[in-house]
């Protein structure tokens, strides 16, 4: 579905929505073109190419917002969309007012960030890169048995929002990802697996040597891993592990869960909730981010802000509805996580500290580096902050990286962890997260319970 056809359909739908009896209404269209190739055993084992689109309609009637979605943008769908959304309005009894929005000064926003580099993403360029990468991973070390998973993928697509108040805004994005996972057999016959990823906008910027160096470090570093003694340890979260860990609890920083009593951060803006060395910012238009986000899914301009400023909880993330309830303006974080508009972050940045990664280890003295966490979808209680997770990493011995460890768990409470951050590194990585990316260095936490089965 091309954007011009979608635009015409949306204009007709919004006009019909008003005539149908909605006080205000809105249509949002998203489409995606994607391509990916998988490499296995020296061949392109799989190739995928796709074009998908979806339309979400929402209409306001008697203070209730009814939603309906469809991917059929034909005349015959208009009646289905309007009737279903109205039926949903009639069932709802949400006490909090909702809004269709239009800022007269920013109602025709247009932001395109797809570059000419996207045209380099072809079957040929991806398969050549993928095959070379597989060969190079296998050549890293004779203990590597197979590259089980290697995908080179790209996607691009527009987002268009049109409403009955006159909003007509467009943004788009594109990106490339390379993900590889391999297994290696240790001297004792035990199997270790490791993976690494790269994200970017221009395939020519992929640095295979840098990728291989990290890949080798992550996989081969695990050789000889075994469990360790149960105890409380100083813990250095490697940057990737810290990103995974932090995001498992991020819903607590969103206003809607707070207002529903599902976050212990409710009514605590202005309070110290984290260590004074910890600052977390949101920068929707962050210069280094692959995806910049000028406006949210409700048409509200996004803004740069500190979420945690030197340990102080500066602001939660708000959409139009939760902001109104809190008596303040939206923070531009109204995004469609599922069918309804909730809150999501754009680009998040943990402000780097003065420590190199090695400096963090010296600061820790003795402890554990956590490099991989598993089971984040199940082993955390996002509301209470409690967690118990399978992890892998390394011992820290006399300020240096020691032997690898596996088959251990780390347990504690999120709120205690962010209060006990002792030092922040400067080894920043970026990982896709929320609507954008999460930029974070490694961090040192004073003490966490580690369970292992070594005597």
């Amino acid at each position: 579905m091309d954007i011009k056809t979608a635009e015409k359909f949306m204009e007709k739908l919004v006009k019909a929505g008003k005539e149908f009896g909605f006080e205000e209404c809105e249509a949002a269209f998203a489409s995606e073109n994607s391509m990916s190739i998988d490499i296995l055993n020296g061949e392109v084992s799989s190739y995928e190419n796709s074009a998908t689109s979806s339309l979400s309609f929402r209409g306001l009637k008697n203070g209730q917002m009814g939603y309906c979605s469809s991917n059929i943008l034909e005349e015959s769908s208009i009646d289905f969309l309007l009737r279903s959304a109205m039926e949903n309005c009639e069932v709802l009894n949400d006490e909090d007012p909702q809004f269709i929005y239009c800022d007269e000064n920013n109602k025709n926003l247009y932001f395109s960030q797809v570059t000419d580099a996207y045209s380099k993403n072809t079957y040929k360029s991806f398969s050549e890169l993928g095959l070379n990468l597989e060969k190079a991973i296998l050549a890293l070390d004779s203990r590597i048995d197979a590259v089980d998973f290697l995908t080179v993928a790209c996607s691009t697509g527009p987002y268009l929002i049109i409403n009955s108040k006159g909003l007509h805004s467009y943004r788009d994005s594109d990106g490339i990802s390379i993900v590889a996972s391999a297994r290696a057999t240790d001297e004792d016959g035990s199997v270790k697996s490791g993976d690494h990823y790269w994200i970017g906008k221009d395939i020519d910027n992929f640095d295979i040597d840098a990728f291989l160096a990290k890949f080798g470090e992550k996989l081969l570093g695990k050789m000889g891993a075994k469990s360790c003694k149960s105890d409380n340890y100083s813990v250095v979260f490697k940057a990737e592990a810290f990103q995974q860990f932090f995001m498992a609890f991020f819903s607590n920083f969103m206003a809607t869960p707070m207002q529903r009593g599902l976050s212990l951060l409710a009514d605590r803006e202005g309070e110290t909730i984290a260590s004074s060395v910890f600052t977390l910012k949101e920068e929707p238009m962050y210069e280094k981010a692959l995806t910049k986000i000028p406006f949210d899914d409700e048409g509200v301009l996004t803004t740069a802000k500190a979420i945690i400023d030197k340990g102080v909880f500066a602001t939660a993330l708000y959409n139009l509805k939760s902001a109104n309830k809190a008596g303040r303006p939206s923070s531009g974080n109204g995004f469609r996580g599922g069918s309804n508009v909730g809150e999501l972050p754009t680009n998040l940045i943990v402000e780097p500290g003065d420590y190199t990664f090695e400096g963090l280890l010296e600061e820790a003295g003795n402890g554990i580096i956590l490099s991989d966490l598993s089971g984040l979808h199940a082993g955390v209680n996002a509301i209470s902050g409690d967690f118990s997770l399978l992890c892998e990493g390394y011992l820290i011995e006399n300020g240096k990286k020691g032997r690898p460890v596996e088959q251990i768990t780390v347990a504690g409470n999120f709120y205690d962890v962010i209060k006990s951050i002792k030092s922040v590194g400067n080894d920043i990585i970026n990982v896709p997260s929320g609507e954008g990316e999460f930029f974070t260095p490694s961090v040192l936490v004073s003490s966490l319970a580690i369970s292992g089965d070594e005597e």
Binding site: M1, L40, E43, V44, S45, S46, Y47, E48, N49, S50, A51, T52, S53, S54, G66, Y67, S69, S70, N71, I72, F80, S84, E87, C89, V91, L92, E95, A146, D148, R183, S190, V191, S193, S227, S230, R260, G261, L262, S339, N340, S374, G375, H377, A378, G379, N381, S384, D386, F387, S388, L389, L390, Q407, I408, T409, A411, G412, A449, S451, D453
Partner: protein, 460 residues
């Protein structure tokens, strides 16, 4: 849905180069849902999604193209692109299309899609009204009903022409207890392919009370210990252990590329001799069932493990080519935007001979996990983890104090051998399994079992 001549045009285009097999998957899904929070209807949604996927195979080389645009010209263009990307040796043939075979595994009295959202809200309100007046510690009550109707048609170059329709309902009830700065929840989330009569007959008050009791117990509980110890896993959702630690490692997705610790182990002892297990997609009305899989094969009741001996893998078409064996009717996908692959359906450890009471009485010290959360596994290393939502310490053969905050970890290939007691109280429980072909409805299940030793990752 396309007519036969349109299908043939797409297949001809797809087979115009060197594919030896081509398949069209066309899907239409309707959905409706309502959600309540503390008695307020905060969400009511309706959705319609349709699309088409075209898959080409040449040996083990695969190409998958898909679109949400069902226009024949768009799909012919995609089929042409796919044909140019496939890497085979020779041009394959197209067999004559058989007559359409329509199937459905559901025996439905009341079509869930015909039930009004108002009726659903009235049902859910019974739960929230009860929960919020149950105990002052209960501060939130959330509930939802989600219904889907999915029609999936498969047409391929072997003449397969099938259409499977499934109607599923998922009910979720969650209550939260608050004490000081602590919040803990109790949750049930049954799923079914029976009609809306399942909801009408559901003991909503009893189940809401159980959720409240769990939440209150857990908010008052201390932390789980951290040590290796015997662990008794309660029936029903306790089966997530088998799903994670064994089921995924038996899928051709892993075995076919030798990325599983159970590769080449058919006929070998992989579990304790008191363990037998099945993957049965044919159970009437069960959440994970289907009549025809997403490659057009009839679903099956597959014996995976018999008395500890590995009997079968879960094999799809691509896996069958890698493993040189027949598909087992287990190929599934979330929707048309995923190529299908081998997946579980209703997967469970079969009943054993022990009375669950005897399992507890025979345990001097250990953990009794009565409610499990989800988990995950790395099929190459065997490392698995799963979360415990509600647990008790067993002391001197008796259930003692409740504990919370534990994750159980271990190696999949070891834990199955350490099952030393299997109960006779098998039950199934609904979930959604996420893997390479997306999220699919599955049930996990087991009777109460005991594992002689698992590392419990607690905080004490």
């Amino acid at each position: 849905m396309f007519n036969d001549s349109d299908c043939l045009r797409i297949l001809e285009q797809a087979m115009s180069t060197t594919a030896d097999f081509a398949e069209i998957f066309q899907e239409v899904t309707e959905s409706k849902s309502v959600s309540l929070l503390n008695g307020q209807v905060i969400r009511a949604a309706t959705g319609f999604d349709s699309g088409t996927g075209i898959r080409l195979l040449a040996g083990t080389n695969s190409v998958y193209v898909y679109s949400s645009d069902n226009d024949i010209e768009v799909l012919l263009k995609l089929a042409k692109e796919a044909a140019s990307a496939i890497k085979g040796a020779d041009k394959g043939s197209i067999e004559a299309l058989k007559a359409l075979c329509s199937t459905s595994k559901a025996t439905v009295e009341i079509d869930p899609m015909s039930v009004s959202k108002t009726d659903m809200v009235d049902f859910l309100r019974k739960s929230s009204d009860y929960a919020l007046s149950y105990d002052p510690l209960i501060t939130q009550a959330a509930s939802s009903i989600a219904c889907t109707k999915r029609s999936a048609r498969v047409i391929n170059t072997r003449g397969v022409n099938s259409e499977d329709t499934t109607k599923r309902i998922r009910l979720s009830i969650e209550t939260i207890a608050t004490k000081d700065n602590e919040k803990q929840s109790g949750r049930v989330a049954p799923g079914t392919m029976k009609g809306y009569e399942f909801i009408n007959d559901y003991p909503v008050i009893d189940k809401t009370r159980e959720c409240c009791d769990t939440a209150i117990r857990m908010v008052n509980a201390g932390y789980a210990p951290s040590a290796k110890m015997p662990v008794i896993l309660g029936n029903a959702f306790g089966g997530v252990i088998f799903h994670e630690a064994c089921g995924h490692a038996l899928e051709a997705t892993a075995v076919g590329i030798r990325n599983s610790y159970f590769t080449d182990m058919l006929g070998q002892q992989i579990a304790s001799s008191i363990v037998s297990a099945r993957d049965n997609a044919t159970i009437d009305g069960e959440w994970g069932s289907y009549a025809t899989d997403d490659e057009g094969n009839t679903s099956s009741d597959l014996l995976l493990i018999e008395n500890g001996i590995l009997k079968n893998y879960l094999v799809d078409e691509l896996g069958s080519r890698r493993m040189n064996c027949a598909p087992t009717g287990c190929s599934r996908r979330q929707n048309y935007s995923y190529a299908p692959t081998s997946r579980m359906s209703n997967t469970y450890i079969c009943n054993g001979e022990s009375d669950p009471k005897d399992i507890i009485a025979n345990t001097e010290y250990g953990l009794y996990a009565t409610q499990m959360g989800g988990g995950s596994v790395d099929t190459s290393t065997g490392d698995f983890n799963f979360a415990v939502n509600e647990a008790f310490i067993i002391r001197d053969g008796k259930i003692a104090e409740p504990v919370r905050g534990a994750t159980l970890i271990g190696k999949g290939q070891e834990i199955l051998k350490n099952i030393d007691m299997v109960g006779n109280d098998l039950e199934l429980s609904a979930g959604v399994c996420g893997s390479v072909s997306g999220g699919v409805p599955v049930t996990v299940g087991q009777p109460t079992i005991r594992v002689s030793s698992i590392l419990v990752g607690g905080r004490e």
